[in-house]
């Protein structure tokens, strides 16, 4: 029997979320699936895999031990996203548009034969535009035929409350960091790097990818360099934004990644200050962090972290990355 594999690593969804698999095994067996679920949890915790697993449970023709086989025609069509009754909606560009939801609704009402099981999966449901979300509302409340909906999100706070209250919420517990670090060590990632990577992503495959990404390695180095200068009130930090940091981030997701690194550094400073050294992410910089924060007050450290957290909010507003980093530098540096 082939176990279903998440992403490119070899952790199965059964290992990743054993409690949820048991739960849904029971529900599917007893025909007690609710009509709409909101799966909330960070990247890599198995949201898409679990929704596919449930879909396969409903359609698999060679179901064994209350588990889908993963290899029959039905299962394979689900896994490859080609099953006519299992429709997956993903953001078209930045958002999921109202037309996509309208299309989804028409798909389901067209062949909405009574008793005909259908599944729809909405990835990154938080990216639905207001009109898309509102258009989904009624459909969630009074679906046609037997429909099971899975809305997947990394941030359920951005999901319209009226949608939340029509779904059963399933919180995917974050994977324990020890577990993640151990898997990375097993794959030959260095300890310090693993410490950092588990704070950047919860997906093992993504972490592995980053550990070999030259650009990412350079980014961690330059971000530290900039931050260190900033903490020392060195005006060169302002120049570094343009000369060293900005050239490393061409795409939006690289910008977000860099923002994460900055936030983590600011957080590390506070953790070191309050004796939580074992939790820091830039563990290779521990001695340097310890030294540079000696001259900085508690309040200033909090202010720094506050401002670093703002970076991500500002990026949401489409202000140029360079302006955001430069203004943050100016705010924090004491001239």
């Amino acid at each position: 029997m082939t176990e279903m594999v998440t992403e490119t690593s070899n952790i199965t969804i059964q290992e990743l979320q054993p409690a949820l698999i048991e739960h849904f095994k029971k529900l599917t067996t007893m025909n007690q699936l609710a009509h709409a679920y909101l799966f909330a949890g960070q990247e890599g915790v198995g949201k898409i895999e679990l929704s596919q697993w449930i879909a396969m449970r409903l359609f698999c023709t060679a179901d064994e031990d209350l588990k889908p086989c993963g290899v029959c025609a039905e299962c394979r069509r689900i896994l490859s996203g080609n099953h006519p009754d299992v429709v997956v909606v993903k953001p078209d560009g930045q958002s999921i548009k109202v037309d996509q939801i309208r299309f989804l609704k028409s798909e389901f009402s067209k062949s909405g034969v009574e008793g005909n099981q259908k599944v729809f999966i909405i990835e990154k449901a938080e990216s639905m535009t207001a009109s898309a979300a509102n258009s989904l509302l009624k459909f969630l409340e009074e679906p046609v035929g037997t429909v099971t909906a899975f809305l997947l999100t990394e941030n359920k706070n951005q999901i319209l409350p009226t949608i939340q209250s029509r779904c059963q919420l399933v919180n995917f517990a974050a994977l324990s960091q020890d577990k993640l670090i151990q898997s990375l060590l097993n794959k030959g990632v260095l300890k310090d790097q693993a410490n950092l990577l588990v704070h950047v992503t919860e997906s093992i495959s993504r972490a592995e990818e980053l550990s070999q990404d030259e650009n990412f390695i350079e980014m961690t180095k330059q971000v530290w360099n900039w931050f260190n200068k900033l903490l020392k009130n060195d005006t060169e930090s302002f120049i570094l934004v343009q000369t060293k940091l900005v050239p490393l981030v061409k795409e939006k997701n690289q910008q977000l990644l860099m923002a994460d690194l900055i936030i983590l550094l600011a957080r590390d400073c506070l953790l070191v200050r309050y004796n939580r050294k074992e939790q820091i992410s830039f563990s290779d910089r521990l001695a340097e962090i310890d030294k540079v924060i000696q001259l900085i007050s508690d309040e200033k450290l909090v202010e720094i972290l506050d401002n670093c957290l703002q970076i991500k909010n500002l990026l949401q507003t489409n202000i140029a990355f360079q302006s955001v980093l430069e203004s943050t530098t100016l705010k924090l540096i004491d001239l």
């Binding site: 990247e43 941030n155 779904c167 506070l270 939580r276 909090v302 957290l309 489409n318």
Partner: protein
């Protein structure tokens, strides 16, 4: 057959089933009994408080020939058809997916025809605030000359988006959040009917997590049942809602209030490791702080209110923690809650929160008083800043004497002498007249349309205006505060943007107030100087923000006990 959600199975069929809306149901029943129903109603209220259910019950009751005391019989043909959504004369429209002019015009055309099966034709328009402007206009035409035997029920969660012209032609009902006690009682009723065992604390956790929505409560309950083999256990309730136990909350609050930062960080780490829901945690902390505050003022209230959560630790904390700490704690929690909406790293925010909560009283002292352990450089900065403020004050005084002279004062902070950054300049002769004529009404109005106004801008324009908000307004001008001074400078110099804002306001308010920009940093100072110098008591209140926490506590108390019985003392 897939599983039928509790909230669908147990949808109220009579007004008496409707939880926590006694005033509304009484009024509606009276209207039905005395045949004095209106042509149009607005049912406004948060999600899951029974608006749509009430609308359907109403539709049945006015049409049921066997209605008794304003309640439908739920047995006759008409009642059953309405319950099943099969009566042609009761038309449900989802404005969210049918928000165009066409759909509403269609109503206008058909509304003329008399009902075919029932006495009254009833239009229930859900999420009515989603209608387009054109559609609202079409609807207005219908409401202006309502046909006989037609009743409109407009349900909404966002009434401020409905044009005043529509609201004035309707009777409006405000549905309240369901209190934990009410939703607890309803859950007990349903579980008893279904013969499902339950642990009482589990229902308390569910009632709290539902935050005033009955539908939310039943959705959560559904899931707790499904996790527990037809038994509602506390463990599963905590699991499903991502809540932490009250013990943990109390440990945490004790630690931060005693400034045990390292300890508190460890507690928060434990909570994160258990995979708890950070949003839930923040909400629970806010609720806990609010309950402590309320308990300090009126212990009797809290006993009724919070389903017996008052234990020894709670009592001790209410005696040892000052009200001031609690107010500040809730403010910080509110702030972090806002910031967390856009993050995928809630754990970092929880750590920041912990540090801020266990540190803020120290920080307060520092900003008021320069003696406390500051290094020399910082002391010098404060000194510089004080000097600038002094100069500024003198200039303000001067300006006040020659009121009509245009004078520009620059308030660059001394520590940021970087020339690459454009500084916003203050034109006080523009600002003071606004403050002189500021009204609360103008400000409230602007604040309401602000988000919609920004939506109408281009992407770049919106980027500039994103971190802005109106802070004071007179009927013809508005003072807008920006979080970043470079954005304030940019905005005041961008005529295209100012035009776009003017046009947008004209569309939304039929008024084009003049915009004056200021930074969030400058605003408190300007406001203070203005009040000091003008002694403007009359207008002070219109530009004075009400502390949010106090409002929350008061509104929570009001929700439960009505406005008459509440008096909050602030010291």
């Amino acid at each position: 057959m897939s599983y039928q959600a509790l909230y669908r199975v147990w949808r109220p069929q009579k007004f008496s089933d409707l939880v926590g809306q006694d005033m509304i149901t009484r009024t509606l029943k009276n209207a039905i009994m005395t045949h004095q129903t209106s042509h149009a109603y607005i049912f406004n209220g948060p999600r899951g408080t029974g608006k749509t259910s009430a609308a359907k019950i109403f539709a049945k009751a006015v049409n049921c020939h066997f209605q008794e005391n304003g309640e439908p019989c739920n047995k006759c043909e008409t009642c059953v058809a309405i319950t099943n959504g099969q009566l042609n004369d009761v038309i449900e429209i989802d404005a969210a997916s049918n928000n165009g002019v066409e759909e509403i015009r269609d109503i206008r055309d058909k509304v003329k025809y008399a009902p075919t099966q029932a006495d009254f034709k009833i239009y229930i328009i859900d999420e009515v605030h989603m209608l387009s402007t054109g559609a609202f206009n079409a609807l207005l035409k219908t409401l202006e000359e309502p046909p006989e035997n037609v009743i409109f029920i407009l349900a909404t969660t966002e009434p401020h988006k409905i044009p005043a012209t529509i609201i004035s032609r309707t009777q409006k009902f405000d549905f309240k959040r369901i209190t934990p006690a009410d939703s607890y009682a309803r859950m007990v009723y349903i579980l008893t009917e279904k013969e499902i065992e339950y642990e009482e604390p589990a229902l308390k956790v569910v009632a709290k997590a539902a935050e005033g929505g009955m539908r939310d409560a039943l959705s959560i309950l559904d899931q707790v049942i499904s996790f527990g083999d037809n038994k509602v256990t506390l463990d599963n309730a905590l699991l499903v809602t991502g809540s932490v136990t009250q013990d943990k909350i109390q440990t945490y609050v004790t630690e931060v209030s005693q400034k045990e930062t390292t300890q508190a960080l460890e507690t928060i780490q434990e909570i994160i490791d258990e995979g708890k829901d950070s949003t839930r945690l923040i909400e629970d902390l806010i609720a806990y702080g609010r309950d402590l505050l309320l308990y300090q003022q009126a212990p009797a209230l809290i006993n009724q209110l919070e389903l017996g959560m008052v234990d020894d630790t709670f009592k001790t904390l209410s005696q040892t923690i000052s009200a001031e700490f609690l107010y500040q704690m809730i403010n910080i929690l509110n702030e972090v809650q806002q910031q967390m909406r856009f993050t995928t790293h809630p754990d970092v925010y929880l750590e920041v929160l912990t540090i801020r909560l266990s540190q803020f009283s120290t920080i307060e002292v520092v900003s008021d008083n320069s003696q406390s352990g500051l290094n020399q450089e910082a002391a010098k900065q404060i000194n510089d800043l004080t000097k600038t403020v002094e100069t500024l004050k003198k200039q303000l005084l001067n300006l006040n004497k020659h009121d009509n002279q245009h004078q520009t004062v620059s308030v660059a902070k001394p520590k940021k002498n970087v020339t690459t950054q454009k500084k916003a300049t203050l034109n006080l002769s523009q600002i003071y007249p606004i403050l002189d004529n500021a009204t609360k009404e103008s400000l409230v109005q602007l604040k309401q349309v602000w988000p919609e106004l920004l939506q109408q801008l281009s992407v770049t324009q919106r980027a500039i205006m994103q971190a802005s908000e109106p802070v004071a307004a007179s009927p013809d001008s508005v003072l807008v505060s920006f979080n970043y001074d470079f954005l304030a400078a940019k905005a005041s110099g961008d005529t295209e943007l100012l035009d776009a804002l003017g046009n947008g306001l004209d569309r939304l308010l039929h008024n084009t107030p003049k915009l004056v920009c200021i930074t969030a940093e400058q605003w408190p100072e300007v406001r203070k100087s203005y009040i000091e110098q003008n002694g403007h008591e009359g207008n002070e209140t219109t530009i004075e923000p009400v502390p949010e926490v106090v409002e929350q506590v008061v509104s929570k108390a009001e929700e439960i006990f009505g406005t008459e019985n509440i008096e909050i003392k602030q010291d």
